[in-house]
């Protein structure tokens, strides 16, 4: 083990300099940060697990500036929920139902659209803030005073694929690291036995893994998927977390001990280097993750009241409810960023027709669980330090597609944030009187990314990674933080 002292010192120096990039570079072959940190723990003391190493590693790289949010949950509504039927009330649209749109439609549209289509749902004011919410979200409406609405989001692509990539990675033209990967790169994880970024039931379509990938960032920062959108959430788990042929934990322990013994024999002959050492450490880490992950996923640990709260007893809400509860359990255990995707094996919120039927079903599935998550986080004192993000890849047009549908609308749509240092009951930015274009305090997706990073204490211009000779950022050369949403 003494052979590794130069490497150890090098790492320690890097950590003290809070220079993650150097550390990764100096680790030679570029083995993952997780393994590197595990090695660190390994070297510092036999009894110390990787958790301590991670804590140390994290302590050495604080956020760029003070902030409230320590972690985030992104509730992603796949398909594009209609902002004008949910959180962006447009009385003028109701009045002008059936009339021509009095201004130009965008140069590029996804589908052919016709005249203005009023919302089939009524809106009412809620909370101290008197925020408008439609009938679709009666439970979320109870929390409006905790929500910070951004009504002027814009700038995704008009097609699902481009829009998902742009929302998740900032680029619809190249494979780039995802938001979650940037966050784990910037902040690390607080629990060394779990990944820093977990995505629950993500869709494989429309960018697929690229939406949680690390691209050129080290692989350790990529999202760990639990299942995918085609499977029920109670089947979703980490790949290969269980032995395919039912080898017991005891036997696996014996196997690892054998490998360790063989490894140590080699070390005595000078045939072991830091790479081989860290591989052994990574095996131990995997072994611990096998215990930790099923524990995190075990919802039977939760009370009957909690099951009821998240709607786990109702088939309508159970699937998404489980995802939300799982998100809370992961966040609680120190996972930095959890994405929860609401998507079945179709394009869930994509109501090109039958808006009423489709959106009603979709909203029913998520409304109660989302409200439960907000309430639960608040009760546990976690909401203050957890940023909750809700949006789709775009909104929908105020003009009708066919008779009763709406087309994709990336020109203006709504996201809301909750907890983690945002102003509650606050509305930022606006679309025009019909909700077609963002007009006031426009927030481009790059600005949205810059704002999310800032809420988590990261300066989007400083969070860079050098690749192929260039310093890359999530926001590329763009991005303005919407400081007005900060509490």
């Amino acid at each position: 083990m003494m052979n590794n002292l130069p490497l150890f010192n090098e790492m320690l120096n890097s950590l003290q300099n809070s220079n993650r990039r150097n550390m990764l570079k100096q680790s030679g072959v570029g083995f993952g940060y997780l393994a590197a940190a595990a090695l660190l723990g390994e070297l510092s003391s036999k009894a110390v697990g990787a958790e301590t190493a991670f804590e140390r590693a994290l302590a050495a790289k604080p956020s760029h500036f003070p902030c409230k949010a320590k972690r985030a949950i992104f509730l992603f509504m796949k398909g594009g929920p209609s902002h004008i039927d949910t959180f962006d009330y447009k009385p003028q649209l109701q009045k002008d139902d059936g009339k021509e749109l009095p201004f130009d439609k965008p140069r590029v549209q996804f589908a052919k659209t016709g005249k203005l289509l009023g919302s089939p749902w009524k809106f009412a004011r809620y909370g101290q803030s008197g925020s408008f919410v439609s009938q679709l979200f009666p439970n979320v409406a109870k929390h409006v005073d905790d929500l910070c609405f951004i009504h002027s989001l814009h700038g995704t692509n008009a097609a699902h694929g481009g829009a998902l990539l742009k929302l998740h990675t900032g680029s619809d033209a190249f494979v780039r690291p995802s938001l979650g990967a940037w966050l784990s790169y910037g902040l690390g994880t607080e629990n060394s036995d779990l990944p820093g970024f977990v995505t629950i039931c993500p869709t494989l379509a429309h960018g697929g893994v690229n939406n949680w990938g690390s691209a050129f960032l080290p692989a350790i920062y990529q999202g760990t998927p639990l299942g995918n959108a085609s499977m029920p959430s109670d089947q979703a788990t980490v790949r290969y977390i269980k032995s395919a042929s039912g080898v017991s934990r005891e036997v696996q322990r014996e196997q690892l001990d054998l490998l360790r013994e063989l490894h140590q024999q080699k070390a005595q002959n000078g045939q072991v280097d830091e790479v081989l050492d860290s591989r052994i450490a990574s095996m131990e880490l995997a072994f611990r993750m096998q215990t930790e992950m099923p524990l995190a996923e075990d919802l039977s640990q939760e009370s009957a009241g909690t099951h009821e709260l998240y709607g786990l007893n109702d088939p309508m809400t159970a699937n998404f409810g489980r995802q939300c509860l799982l998100a809370r359990r992961l966040i609680e255990r120190g996972v930095r960023y959890v994405q929860v995707t609401h998507s079945d094996a179709f394009v869930q919120w994509d109501q090109h027709s039958d808006l009423k039927k489709g959106h009603e079903k979709n909203a029913k599935e998520v409304d109660l669980p989302i409200a439960a998550l907000l309430q639960d986080l608040k009760q546990r004192g976690l909401l203050d330090e957890t940023l909750v993000i809700w949006t789709g890849e775009f909104g929908r047009t105020p003009v009708a597609e066919g008779t009763n549908g709406r087309d994709h609308n990336p020109e203006g749509f709504t996201a809301w944030l909750a907890g983690g240092g945002v102003k509650g009951g606050f509305h930022y930015g606006a679309t025009d009187e019909y909700g077609y274009y963002a007009v006031d305090n426009k927030v481009h997706l790059h600005d949205f990314h810059a704002t999310i990073l800032a809420l988590l204490g990261l300066d989007h211009e400083k969070l860079t990674y050098r690749y192929a000779g260039r310093d890359f950022r999530l926001t590329d050369i763009h991005g303005k933080v919407a400081w007005d949403v900060f509490a």
């Binding site: 130069p6 570029g30 993952g32 393994a35 549209q109 692509n157 008009a158 097609a159 699902h160 694929g161 481009g162 990539l165 619809d172 190249f174 494979v175 869709t203 494989l204 379509a205 960018g207 697929g208 893994v209 690229n210 691209a215 080290p218 692989a219 085609s230 980490v238 790949r239 290969y240 269980k242 032995s243 080898v247 014996e254 196997q255 054998l258 490998l259 063989l262 024999q265 080699k266 000078g270 045939q271 280097d273 790479v275 081989l276 860290s278 591989r279 990574s282 095996m283 880490l285 995997a286 072994f287 993750m289 096998q290 094996a345 179709f346 994509d350 192929a468 000779g469 260039r470 050369i477």
Partner: protein, 801 residues
């Protein structure tokens, strides 16, 4: 309208910038002055005076008040004002000034602070002085004259000055003389002299030759991606002659499995994929033909210049016979299989994005140049201008890649039927025609359906079974045209047309000129494979070195520009590049030199003294310990169980060409249970095979000459828990037990040879045997399986030393 026509020296060529509103169509003008118009009315004295005015008055204003936000560091509004070229480009809002209507110039509106949405400099900076504003107005009224020649320096001080022709990788390749050092018994060939010279300068020493069995395992994985068999190990160890090494190398280089291994490396470089990925994940149902073309090309050691030319312009090459023509067409899939946003609603944007992807891939793959950067602005670090970029873009705009841009867009497929296939199809067509005629005749004669039944049935059967002629994605010539410069890469903001041409800085003395009848791809390939091209040979020998040693002589294999790494052994790099060209561009020749070197043959043991001086092993004082690549791990898992199938594959996709692998369903039915070698498994962008994904496979979307080699816990989960590993372990354990070994010690010995390519030490054997014994007699079978599982998860399995 060249400078010489105006009677003034080129370097003092002065131009009027004439940028009105962005998007205004302009007449095509000479490439050297597109977006700018020269003034013939002015005398050179007047122009010189105006330049002096710009230098003395305008440049300082811009430098003092503007460049901090509109310069090298920041480009607010997509605008830079730190060089005449940048000023001429304008920003996101369009041109900086309007000569025809100076007061409407955005820069004047901004500094006069007439429009609340455009106040410059922004608060709290003070407004410009009236004198400064007056100077700016005067300058624009006078035609906004700026020096546009090559001497026009930046307005501000840039942090990183742009490199020029003096950059190392743009220098001609001259074969260096061999190092003038005494040879030693250690040396095997010239490579070792270069390596040793650099080591001696630092005072480090190489390792002795590796243990023979480790070397055999190393070279076998290296050249064919598989472990040596037990009998290969035994016979190599028994052959104590020096020639034994060469015999192994000869055997491996001649093996058809060589192309499988080395073709896969090339597939990384060309972002090979069996699906489009990106937005609409539909099948590249014919890409496999290109994959097999690559395997064949490497196996036959096709000269690299030819290999390159076929991939860029195979459709334009003459062919002696049909099979050559088919190979040529197949090669052009290189240009066709990039990831595309096939549902991009803006069709013009889609087309330019596809062209951009082609240029980007071509530049990185063959030249180590990041041309893509120049799409929106002059390359910030390398001497590649937007003019260079759009000169190249014209070549690809003149190439037909897509049959349709309407969502879901369709790429082009070239027909590649053999004569035999054509004949067969024609015969069937004739038969169909004949049957139809007979049926018609019978109908005319009043025959009933029942009477025609047998003929109709035969017709149906033939029509159903008529062979579809094979196609392969690829390109052909399109309508030859130049492309207008896209201001800031925006396809809606077009400026003057740029003539098709190749990047200026790499303009070779005997530059090829493009004719009006062809896209220019053939000339592009000729330019790239010209022996005086400084990049092509260097880039590819460096790739070979990277794949043999895990790190390139130039570590940034895909970037030889200013931001790339400098070569660790520049002379060795050039020597190898010269060797490549002298050998007639034989890749195998260069590889043979590399693997026969003592540098390659040395041991991988650590050396504290050398580690101190060169911790990264840049001087190659030991052979680097390397983790196997994803494909090698997968093939080895099958080989360990004796289950690998070395046959040649075609397509393992479960869907047809252009069909969805999966749409929004997220249900990917692709199967990876074939026992063919990993190169034949489907490469699905957005959803790679788990094992590939876990072990740093290329993402198949961009040029990847330098894959990562990470060690992360999810890999360990795979090795501990996956069905593939367990199945291999089970089969291996069964074979160990079924074979009639005299003792369990012999079994352990065999296990070691099979997995680790060497005999076990006594301690290893003891540890393993006691692991088996611990389960008691009744569980022995199971214990052997557990042992094999552990053995497959061991470092010795996963790493090559």
């Amino acid at each position: 309208m060249s400078p010489s026509h105006l009677g003034i020296p080129a370097q003092l060529f002065v131009v009027l910038i004439w940028l009105t509103s962005v998007g205004l169509a302009q007449d095509p003008i000479d490439e050297a002055s597109s977006t700018v118009q020269s003034s013939q009315q002015q005398t050179s004295e007047q122009q010189a005076a105006q330049i002096a005015f710009f230098e003395s008055k305008i440049r300082p204003i811009l430098h003092e008040h503007c460049v901090s936000c509109h310069g090298a560091e920041k480009q607010e509004g997509g605008l830079r004002l730190d060089s005449p070229q940048a000023i001429a480009m304008g920003g996101d809002s369009g041109g900086v000034f309007q000569i025809a209507d100076p007061n409407a110039s955005l820069i004047l509106v901004a500094v006069r602070q007439l429009d609340s949405s455009l106040i410059m400099p922004p608060a709290p900076a003070p407004k410009l002085s009236p004198a400064a504003i007056a100077d700016l107005a005067k300058w624009i009224e006078g035609g906004a004259v700026m020096p546009m020649g090559p001497e026009a320096g930046p307005a501000g001080t840039q942090k990183k000055p742009k490199i020029g022709r003096e950059h190392w990788s743009f220098q001609p390749i001259a074969k260096p003389a061999l190092p003038n050092i005494a040879t030693t018994a250690w040396d095997q060939n010239a490579i070792d002299l270069f390596i040793r010279q650099a080591q001696e300068a630092k005072g480090v020493r190489s390792q002795v030759a590796a243990d023979k069995s480790l070397w055999l395992r190393r070279i076998t994985f290296d050249l064919i991606g598989l472990p040596p068999t037990v009998s290969e190990i035994e016979s190599f160890l028994a052959d104590t002659s020096e020639a034994a090494y060469d015999r192994v190398i000869d055997r491996l280089l001649a093996s058809p499995q060589y192309g499988v291994r080395w073709g896969r490396f090339w597939l990384d470089v060309v972002r090979y994929s069996d699906s489009n990925g990106l937005d609409e994940n539909i099948a590249h149902g014919t890409a496999w033909r290109y994959r097999n073309y690559v395997i064949d090309s490497l196996n036959e050691d096709k000269p690299y210049d030819r290999f390159l030319t076929e991939q860029i312009a195979g459709d334009l090459l003459p062919a002696a016979h049909r099979s050559e023509r088919i190979a040529n067409l197949t090669a052009t899939a290189f240009l066709a299989m990039g990831p595309k946003v096939l549902a991009e609603v803006d069709e013009r944007k889609m087309e330019m994005d596809i062209i951009d992807e082609q240029i980007d891939t071509l530049g990185k793959a063959f030249l180590g140049m990041t041309f893509g950067c120049a799409r929106c602005h002059d390359h910030k670090f390398d001497p590649v201008s937007t003019q260079d970029y759009y000169g190249l873009a014209g070549v690809f705009k003149s190439t037909h890649t897509m049959d349709s841009f309407t969502k879901i867009a369709k790429w082009h497929e070239n027909e590649i039927a053999t004569e035999q296939e054509e004949l067969e199809r024609k015969a069937k067509e004739a038969e169909i025609a004949e049957l139809k005629a007979r049926i018609e005749k019978l109908t005319a004669e009043g025959a009933t359906d029942a009477e025609k039944k047998s003929l109709s049935e035969r017709l149906d059967a033939i029509q159903k079974a008529i062979p579809v002629l094979p196609t392969v994605m690829g390109v052909k010539e399109g309508s030859v045209q130049n492309v207008p410069l896209h201001v800031r890469g925006n396809h809606l903001a077009l400026a003057g047309e740029v003539k098709r041409r190749f990047p200026e800085v790499l303009n070779l003395n005997n530059a090829v000129s493009l004719d009006e009848q062809q896209s220019g791809r053939l000339q592009l390939a000729a330019w790239m494979t010209n022996r005086s091209h400084p990049l092509t040979a260097r880039v590819v020998v460096n790739r070979l070195w990277r794949w043999h040693f895990g790190k390139g002589l130039v570590a940034s294999t895909d970037n030889f520009g200013a931001l790339g790494e400098k070569p660790s052994h520049p002379e060795l790099l050039d020597w190898l590049a010269a060797e490549l060209m002298e050998s007639g561009w034989s890749l195998k020749h260069v590889q043979r030199l590399i693997v026969t070197s003592a540098t390659y043959r040395q041991a991988s043991e650590r050396n504290p003294a050398a580690e101190e001086l060169d911790p990264e092993n840049r001087l190659l004082w030991r052979y680097p310990v390397r983790r196997l690549e994803a494909e090698a791990i997968r093939d080895f898992l099958l080989a360990a169980a004796g289950d690998i199938d070395l046959a040649r594959g075609t397509s393992l996709l479960h869907v047809g060409n252009r069909e969805f692998l999966f749409d929004h369903t997220s249900i990917d039915k692709t199967k990876y249970d074939s026992h063919l070698r990993a190169i034949y498994l489907p490469v699905i962008r957005n959803h790679l095979y788990d094992l590939f994904d876990l072990f740093d496979y290329s993402d198949a979307a961009t040029v990847q000459g330098d894959r990562g080699s990470t060690i992360v816990a999810p890999q360990a989960l795979f090795m501990l828990n996956s069905g593939l590993v367990h199945e291999s372990a089970k089969r291996l354990a069964e074979q160990l037990q079924a074979t009639d070994f005299e003792t369990d010690e012999k079994r352990i010995q065999y296990l070691h040879l099979r997995l680790y390519g060497r005999y076990p030490t006594a301690n290893e054997a003891t540890a393993m045997l006691s692991f088996v014994d611990r389960g008691g007699v009744e569980n022995r079978g199971e214990r052997w399986t557990y042992l094999c599982q552990a053995a497959l998860a061991a470092n010795d399995f996963l790493f090559v030393r």
